[in-house]
Amino acid sequence: MLAKRIIPCLDVKDGRTVKGVNFVDLRDAGDPVELAYEYSQQGADELVFLDITATHEGRKTTIDLVKAVARQVNIPFTIGGGINEISDADILLNAGADKISINSAAVRNPGLINQMAAAFGAQFVVVAVDTRSIEGQDFVHLSGGRIKTEINTLDWILEAQERGAGEVLLTSMDHDGTKNGFDNKFLKAVNDRIHIPLIASGGAGNQQHFVDVFQQANVDAALAASVFHYGEILIPDLKQTLRHNGIVVR
C-alpha cells in the first residue's frame, strides 16, 4: 500500500538552516546538507527546503546547496522560495531537485502553474498555500503569511489543481509555530475536494498530532520543522507510533 509520508522541512537562508516561530525570530539550526542526510538515514520519506534567501548572490548558494543535497541524499526533495519564472525552476531541476514549490508567485501569476506543468510535468509542481482563518472564512496569505489576500483558500487550491499542480502543501498560519496540532478539520475539508496529494503543514508538536492528521484528515503527507530539528520527535519513533495506530508507513 502507498505509505503516508513524513516530511521534515528545512528553512534555508544563505545556505544555512533556520526556522522561524510563526515565521519571525529566526534561529539557526545547522547545516542543511548534513541535516538532510541525517533525516534520510532516520527514515524521512521526503524533504522540503524553503529558501528564504533574498539576494541574487544568495541564490547561487541555493543552487550549490541543491546540488550538494542531490549528490548526498537518496530520497526525493522539493525546493521552494524565490521561484518566479520557468527559468528559475529549470535551474533547480537541473541541479537535482525533484520538485519545485511555488507560493506567492503562483497567486500573483496563476498561469505560472500551467506553464510549469506543461514544461516539467504536473508531478514537479507543488503549489504551497499559506492560509489563515478570519471570522470563519479561510483566506490565502502571501509573503510568509504577512499579507492577506481576498482569495478563498479552497477556491484557490481547486484552481491550482485545475491549472496542473501535482501536489498541494497547505500551511495553516493559525497553527504554525503553536505546536497544538495540525488544522485537521480544514485539511479534511480540502482533502475531500481534491484529487492530487495533500501535504499538511503547521502545528505539529507531538507524535499524536501526526496520528490525528492522518486519521482525521487522511492527508497524504505531514510536514514539520522544529520538532524534528530540535530532536523533540525522532522519525523512527514517530513511524513506530503511526504503525501502532494502523497507519501505513515505510
Binding site: L2, R5, K67, A70, R71, Q123
Partner: protein
C-alpha cells in the same frame, strides 16, 4: 561500465549522483557507436512518454536499442518506452514487451499522480531484486502505469489496480519507481543491475 542513453528526456543529475554514491562508473551515449563502450545500458526518462519516444526516435538510436543483447534498464518513462504502446500521447513505443502503458483512472486508483513510497511484491529469483526483501518500499511518481502480466512482471505493486513496478524479459529490465530516490533499496537495485549477467 554503464552507458546512459542521453536523448534529452529529463534531468539525469539524480541518476548519476546515485551511481556516484554507490561507486558505479558510467558514461553518456549520444551515438550508436558509443553503445559499444559499455557492457550495460540505462534508459532514463521523466515527463511525457509520447514526447520521450519522439526524442528517442530523433536520436537515431532506436534500432540499436532494440538489437541490444547487453543488460538494459529502463527507469520510469524509460521503462514505459520498452512497452508496445502508451496512452500518454497515444504513442507507439519500442515494443520490446507485449505490454501497454495505461493511465490511472482517478477514483479507482486514488489520487493521481501515484506519488510516494509503495511496497512491491518481488518475483522470486529475479536478479534485479537480489538482496532486496519482498514488500520493500520504493519511491514512485507517475500517472501512467504498465499493466500487470504474469510472465513479464518482475515486481508487482498495487494502486487501485495491480501494475508492474518492474518488468523483465531476457536482457531487458524496467522499473517504474525511481531507484535513484528510493533510499538504500534503490541503491541496492542499481548495484544488482551492475552485475547482472545475461546469456
Amino acid at each position: 561500465m554503464i552507458g546512459i542513453i542521453n536523448y534529452g528526456a529529463g534531468n539525469i543529475f539524480s541518476l548519476t549522483a546515485a551511481l556516484d554514491r554507490v561507486g558505479l562508473t558510467y558514461g553518456m551515449i549520444n551515438t550508436a557507436e558509443e553503445m559499444d563502450r559499455y557492457d550495460r545500458i540505462i534508459i532514463p526518462g521523466v515527463g511525457h512518454a509520447g514526447a520521450a519516444m519522439n526524442k528517442l526516435l530523433e536520436s537515431g538510436l532506436v534500432p540499436y536499442i532494440k538489437d541490444l543483447r547487453k543488460p538494459v534498464l529502463g527507469i520510469c518513462v524509460g521503462m514505459q518506452l520498452l512497452t508496445e504502446y502508451s496512452e500518454e500521447g497515444d504513442a507507439e513505443m519500442l515494443k520490446l514487451f507485449p505490454l501497454k502503458t495505461l493511465h490511472f483512472e482517478a477514483g479507482i486508483a486514488g489520487k493521481v499522480p501515484h506519488m510516494g513510497w509503495n511496497s512491491v511484491s518481488v518475483q522470486a529469483n529475479n536478479p534485479l531484486f537480489a538482496n532486496i526483501e519482498d514488500q520493500t518500499y520504493f519511491y514512485f511518481v507517475h500517472s501512467y502505469y504498465i499493466e500487470y502480466d504474469t510472465t513479464f512482471t518482475a515486481a508487482k505493486c498495487e494502486y487501485g489496480v495491480p501494475f508492474s513496478a518492474a518488468i523483465s524479459r531476457e536482457n531487458f529490465f524496467g522499473v517504474q519507481f525511481h531507484p535513484e530516490k528510493s533510499g538504500k533499496a534503490g541503491e541496492q537495485l542499481l548495484l544488482n543491475f551492475s552485475t547482472i549477467q545475461v546469456d
